[in-house]
Symmetry: C2
Subunit: 251 residues, 2 copies
């Protein structure tokens, strides 16, 4: 593991890269202890604060964890799916909000991916996952629910559907797509009638999943996607109209 002191790149970034590459290459294995900060400082011929900045970079990516005390130090972290979810969701959310991704594009991606899971989920879903879907449908039917709570329940419902595929890699990939959509979905005002329509479609999906009817799940998801887009467009239209009124009225 070497760095170039003459490079214009931050020393701490170089050190982080060197260690990260070693982890990816398998030279440092899970739960292995890195040298102490003082030893790393010696090795790379830099000061301890610089080493610490490098280690914090790696910690931010969940590549290492640190422990204080006599037998403490920095250890290569076993990257867990649960840890990766959070980062995936954060990153996806910011990508959507910072890159002017249209609702349509995000929606299309989300449902395309979800439909990829659906056949597997219809086949393999556990009773527990089915129960979660039913429970969320019930929650969504209750009046007085805020739009945010409705959306959150929607996310839980769809995550149960995705998790039903019983493939952790799929669940991980989908976590970002589904949850990152939530802020966009929150812009939609769900009227009583639109909630009713969504709950009806959710029920169809749960029924089809219970009956292991994959094609039915697929067609219902297509309907749900179309309806979601329709709702979003009506929001955009209403907003445009309000803006137009505002422009003409005051004078």
């Amino acid at each position: 593991m070497k760095i170039d002191p003459d490079s214009t790149v931050d020393l701490s970034a170089q050190i982080a890269k060197a260690i990260r590459d070693a982890i990816i290459a398998g030279d440092l294995i899970v739960d292995q202890r890195l040298p102490s900060e003082a030893e790393l400082a010696d090795h790379f011929e830099v000061s301890r604060p610089t080493v610490r900045e490098a280690l914090k970079r790696l910690a931010a990516q969940s590549l290492i964890r640190t422990q204080r005390g006599a037998t403490g130090g920095a250890f290569v972290n076993r990257l867990r799916f649960e840890d990766a979810y959070a980062q995936q969701v954060t990153t996806s959310t910011l990508l959507l909000s910072m890159n002017a991704v249209s609702f349509d594009v995000a929606c299309e991606a989300r449902y395309a991916l979800e439909r990829a899971c659906a056949p597997l989920s219809a086949q393999r879903r556990t009773p527990d996952q089915l129960a979660t879907m039913r429970a969320e449908i019930h929650r969504q039917s209750q009046p007085g629910l805020t739009d945010e709570a409705f959306c959150a329940s929607d996310v839980t419902f769809h995550r149960a559907l995705v998790d039903g595929a019983g493939n952790k890699v799929l669940s991980y990939q989908l976590a970002g797509a589904v949850e990152a959509m939530q802020p966009l979905m929150n812009m939609i005002t769900f009227t009583a009638r639109s909630r009713e329509a969504i709950v009806a479609l959710h029920t169809d999906i749960a029924d089809a999943v219970e009956a292991q009817d994959a094609p039915k799940v697929d067609t219902t998801l297509i309907k749900l996607e179309a309806y979601t887009r329709e709702l979003a467009h009506s929001v955009v239209t209403a907003r445009a109209e309000r803006a137009a009124n505002k422009e003409t009225k005051p004078a």
Copy 2:
């Protein structure tokens, strides 16, 4: 933005979280300059090295960038899809290698996602993307190619297929799934005959995409998935046999 000095959590982690939350909430907008390190140290009532560790954590997630000099400082970064790809690939790769994800599970996820893109790609692919697919098929047909180069070309081919959907969010999500598989694929030894079979399937896919025949793309991808799994299983079997011989022969 506040932190709790009595918490057992690292101060730098708390500060990073406070700033990250502010970015996600939109309180800090793209390209906005954060206060200087000295000002942040004052604000949070910590020392400058602690603030710096927090900023390095955020930099590791591409949430901020720093600039030296008179008008320098830390700026909220516009998270780009290209930046996110790299992290996505790194994370996915480590997830697979550290969590004993079986080839079958990873393969299933990859092809399920890829098939989600295929219909869109058949419909929208540009001539350029089609040309990339053809070029990679040609490369894959050349004898003397190393297994690694063959795999790399395979990745490029499939990325062109995925990008053909013309949906950046889909491409981003797929980047991790497709590229993270590469180390696993590299374990497979591609014989002349298996390469021939794969090239034939790739050609079928390219033809179907050119003809905008979505169902044909789908069925061919299913065949390709089956064949890929078959190859992987034969590798595992061969390895097990070698191990068995090794156990009985030497004495």
